[in-house]
């Protein structure tokens, strides 16, 4: 057994986290910063963080992930990291020539209280930021929230650093996609195009972390939201913030600073959340939903109705990030599946409350926890007490899936051992079909594996 020391009995823990269902802020900020074209993320802390974050994103995307670090030493940890950051900015602009640098922090620079705004101002005043180049930043203390919080903070940092207000309204909608895959961001752009809606989307990692092999390494790949497009976000009609945890702060900032009203929506996973997204986008962009969407939606409904016998009543455990788990849970309920155990390491009271409300009718016994010690160890114990038919989450779930022999669908961050997430969307109606394909695939593979020869089916 891979997790042989996990007992079935759940004991109360007050201090110990085992097998977390989250990681720390800066990796989220790094991912968000990669979603700006020509941007070099920079980690203001000791260099270990930067290496770990780059490595995790690289393992997830199998693509280059570039970032600089202030490389704190013990001296700078005591006396402050200003000199390190000034030198880093000068070096990065000289050697690597980015259009902009996006600085985030770590628990180190946050604990010592480095004032990033002041250091960036000094760098600019001292001529360390070349003409026409920019430095944007946000604070990402690792001891607050999770990687999602870091993503949210950098989204706000991007808006603060780049969005402008010209006073001339633009016929466009801001989309803050939340922490989703580049394939999902691509699909959102395509949904908007099919709707005929003008959008500005940031961050946008499509074309940055899923780059083609052409024989040429591009330090700043072709993709990413353009600085000049982000600049117009202050003139947009409305902001659609997908995911409360990842996107609401930034939307609030755009509202407060530029009077761009916002609406918080779920990330459009599955049928209902996609319905809401398509309607909200069409309504904000003042476009009619084209006929073709009836067919697009209908195909997802068709697959669900065709295959419901394999899904109905199946118990599911899932873990990951709150913005993803909420619409996924709703989708499972639409499929008449039964979510039984849900954990997210990311704190926020709204999460457990909404899951409980959502499941009240169809899955009233759902166990849900989030925040500190809502970890995969707890999830595993819950599964031992109430076995499930399907497990959904990032790669770390494979240890539970193997020990407990549970069909397993990889979804979320990080996925270190399969491809697909960078290339095939799981948002929108088409993404919903892919989610179904994945779930049905593992469920039916299991039926094939376990069926006695007499009951082994050709047609399913």
């Amino acid at each position: 057994m891979l997790l042989r020391h996990t007992p079935k009995e759940v004991s109360e823990r007050k201090a110990l986290t085992v097998n977390p269902a989250k990681t720390c802020q800066p990796v989220g900020a790094m991912y968000a910063a990669l979603g700006v074209h020509g941007c070099l993320p920079h980690s203001h802390g000791s260099q270990g963080c930067c290496s770990y974050h780059r490595s995790t994103l690289t393992r997830h995307y199998k693509d280059p992930i570039m970032a600089g670090t202030s490389s704190f030493t013990e001296g700078s940890s005591v006396f402050g990291g200003q000199a390190n950051l000034l030198q880093a900015l000068a070096n990065m602009f000289t050697i690597y020539n980015p259009d902009l640098v996006a600085v985030h922090t770590t628990c180190l620079s946050e604990t010592i209280g480095d004032d990033i705004a002041q250091i960036v101002k000094k760098a600019t005043d001292d001529g360390k930021v070349p003409e026409g180049k920019k430095v944007i930043y946000c604070n990402t203390p690792s001891y607050v929230g999770s990687h999602i919080t870091g993503f949210a903070n950098m989204c706000t940092g991007i808006a603060k650093g780049l969005a402008e207000h010209t006073g001339v309204a633009k016929d466009q909608v801001n989309i803050l996609p939340g922490w989703v895959e580049p394939s999902d961001m691509k699909e959102m752009k395509e949904i908007a195009a099919r709707l005929g809606a003008n959008i500005v989307m940031f961050p946008d990692t499509d074309g940055v972390v899923n780059t083609p092999q052409t024989g040429e390494f591009k330090m700043y790949p072709d993709g990413g939201a353009k600085v000049e497009d982000i600049a117009t976000a202050g003139d947009s009609i409305k902001t659609l913030a997908l995911g409360k945890w990842a996107s609401e702060d930034c939307a609030k900032y755009l509202d407060a600073s530029f009077k761009v009203p916002y609406e918080v929506l779920d990330i459009p996973y599955g049928l209902s959340a996609t319905d809401r997204f398509v309607q909200a986008l069409a309504s904000a962009a003042k476009v009619e939903i084209p006929e073709s969407f009836i067919a697009e939606r209908g195909r997802l409904v068709d697959v669900i109705s065709d295959m419901s016998q394999y899904l109905h009543g199946k118990k599911v455990a899932l873990y990951g990030d709150p913005d993803q788990l909420l619409p996924l849970t709703e989708f499972l309920l639409d499929l008449d599946m039964i979510p039984t155990a849900i954990v997210s390491g990311t704190p926020g009271k709204a999460f457990s409350k909404r899951i409980t409300e959502m499941c009240a009718e169809k899955a009233p016994n759902v166990k849900v926890a989030n925040g500190e010690r809502a970890d995969m160890f707890l999830l595993h114990q819950w599964i031992k007490n109430e076995p499930v038919d399907l497990l959904i989450g990032n790669t770390y779930g494979k240890y539970i899936a193997r020990d407990e022999d549970i069909p397993f669908v990889r979804h979320g961050f990080p996925i270190l051992d399969r491809i697909g997430h960078s290339y095939f969307p799981t948002v929108g109606y088409n993404g919903g079909i892919r989610l179904l394909e994945k779930m049905l695939g593992v469920i039916m593979d299991r039926q094939d594996r376990d069926a006695p020869e007499t009951r082994f089916e050709l047609v399913m």
């Binding site: 770990y52 180190l108 024989g215």
Partner: protein, 545 residues
């Protein structure tokens, strides 16, 4: 390496690289890039602070301590005191394999777990000692481990949590669990290296020597600095078993606390990764009288050489004969495999930029394949890893590494026992056995090869342009960067999820994997056909005609 094909002179390349840097940075980096002349005693700058913003591949002290040295020990609960990231990122990402029998002795194996105090902002403000003590208690209550190691991360040192005091109190309270702490905050030192040193010190202080039981077998050795990545240690175990050599403890692939505790009863220490574990070798020699020798099990010839060193050391004819038998048994299939691979690999060029030891070790495997190493370097090697231990007396510890503890070790009055006489050790050293010595990477590298310490991304790009190597060896962060330029990259940290590469079986695996990489068809199909014909004169001529 044959003289007829001299390597190209990289001095122009070096100038071009430095030209991009601001003058102060150029001066520093210049000293970290040496055009090798194995005949000369050249000095390389290493183990100095990383230049901010240069895009280094280095990690931190915590990674060197928890991730590298203690991570592979399967029956210790490694509790990370800090915010969640440090524990998350070191969770199963290094491929230290372990094998714990569930039936035997409970088969403790915590490798698949990530333990953390998950510090929150109120722990930063009010201190995290209480939470740490509580977490130790909970880990003990749930898992009943023999030992708990506590690893400090960046904020712990800054807010003044005393992990050692908490560990002492909890050890006393729990009674049957060895609890000890590591002050391996990420900002200490300049790289992973400081973490190795801290790990060595604390293992030595809290575990080594706790069990004086006499080993049952003959020819007792420890294998130091072998972390069983991809099963390397298992392959070495297999070979040693076949030869009749008994490994008391491997530091620290598939290790246990009990094996550490008994390791001072060995008669010889064999050092694989000099950088990470030479401290342990020195301390065990000083305190217990165990001599050490540098060995390399990467490469079939190196493996044979290492085995013969052990035979020479024990001066036992039966053992020597057995070793020769084993080599004779293992070699034919190795030779057969390498001959097949060489049809593809012969004459190719490699570059190696890996941690603190493999950039040297793997050159042996490449030379067995007929592949030349044109450039190499470490992330965090010290001068002795490059130039040999003879330079140790001249190394100055700079301000950034001065606070890494050097522990004072003295002869153990009761347990010190010189395993071999001074004369014998001297004689062995004269035979080339590298007794208490490591001669470093530079003497083994070709004339005019370029050696680069703590290579930056910019330097990597320029080196690739200049050498156009057939294969580049580094880690995950470099892998796709290099491959996007059309050059295959072999990861020599994770082995690209393959291995083992050590020993005889490992060599065969490596030959096969390199042969596979170099003959992968897709590299020839990177260009779209309509683009690749554009500049093709034959096709153009035909079209015009």
């Amino acid at each position: 390496m044959s003289e007829e094909k001299k390597l190209p002179d990289p001095s122009g390349l070096k100038e071009e690289i430095l030209a991009k840097y601001p003058p102060k940075i150029a001066r520093k980096r210049s000293k970290a890039m040496v055009i090798n002349d194995p005949e000369l005693d050249q000095q390389i700058q290493s183990n100095v602070r990383t230049i901010p913003g240069i895009i280094t591949q280095r990690g931190c002290t915590y990674a060197g301590c928890k991730g590298v040295v203690l991570g592979p020990t399967r029956d210790i609960v490694n509790l990370v005191h800090g915010p969640i990231g440090c524990s998350f990122y070191a969770w199963l990402t290094r491929r230290n394999q372990t094998d714990a029998d569930e039936i035997v002795e409970g088969g403790a194996n915590y490798m698949t777990y990530s333990f953390s105090t998950d510090m929150q902002d109120d722990n930063i403000v009010f201190g995290g000692e209480k939470k740490l003590a509580q977490a130790i208690q909970e880990a003990y209550d749930i898992f009943k481990p023999k030992a708990i190691g506590v690893f400090s991360t960046c904020p712990v040192g800054l807010i003044g949590d005393d992990v050692h005091a908490v560990s002492r109190q909890m050890k006393e309270k729990l009674g049957d669990c060895n609890v000890f702490g590591f002050s391996c905050e990420g900002y200490k030192g300049v790289s992973q290296s400081a973490g190795h040193h801290i790990a060595n010190n604390q293992l030595f202080r809290h575990v080594i020597g706790l069990d004086d039981s006499q080993p049952e077998h003959k020819y007792n050795v420890n294998l130091l600095g072998e972390y069983n990545i991809g099963g390397d240690g298992f392959e070495i175990d297999r070979i040693f078993k076949k030869c009749g050599i008994n490994i008391i403890c491997t530091f620290s692939g598939n290790s246990t606390m009990d094996k550490f505790a008994n390791s001072h009863m060995a008669d010889l220490n064999l050092v694989m990764c000099h950088r990470s574990i030479n401290y342990m070798a020195e301390m065990q020699e000083t305190k217990f009288g165990i001599p050490w020798m540098k060995v390399n099990f990467i490469g079939a010839e190196s493996t044979a050489k290492a085995l013969r060193k052990v035979g020479e050391y024990f001066e036992d004819e039966a053992l020597k004969a057995r070793i020769e038998e084993v080599i004779a048994e293992e070699m034919p299939s190795v030779k057969e495999r390498v001959a097949k691979a060489r049809k593809v690999t012969e004459g190719k060029l490699a570059m190696l930029f890996v941690g603190g030891s493999r950039a040297h070790h793997y050159q042996e495997l490449f030379s067995e394949l007929g592949i030349k190493t044109v450039s190499a370097g470490y992330e965090f090697g010290h001068r002795d890893d490059y130039e040999g231990r003879k330079v140790l007396p001249t190394i100055k510890v700079d301000a950034d590494s001065r606070n890494i503890e050097e522990i004072k070790v003295e002869k153990d009055e009761t347990r010190y026992k010189p395993r071999a006489s001074e004369e014998k050790l001297k004689a062995l050293d004269e035979k080339g056995l590298e007794v208490s010595d490591y001669r470093g990477m530079m003497p083994d590298m070709a004339d005019q090869s370029l050696i680069v310490d703590d290579i930056s991304h910019w330097e990597t790009e320029k080196l690739i342009d200049f050498y156009k190597p057939d294969i580049f060896c580094a880690g995950i962060k470099e892998k796709y960067v290099v491959q996007k330029s059309g050059i295959p990259l072999k990861q020599l940290h994770s082995y690209d999820y393959g291995g083992p590469y050590a020993g005889f079986e490992g060599a065969k695996n490596f030959y096969a994997d390199i042969e596979k990489i170099l003959s992968t068809s897709i590299w020839k199909k990177i260009k779209a056909p309509w683009l690749s014909h554009e500049n093709d004169p034959c096709i153009c001529a035909e079209y015009v005609a």
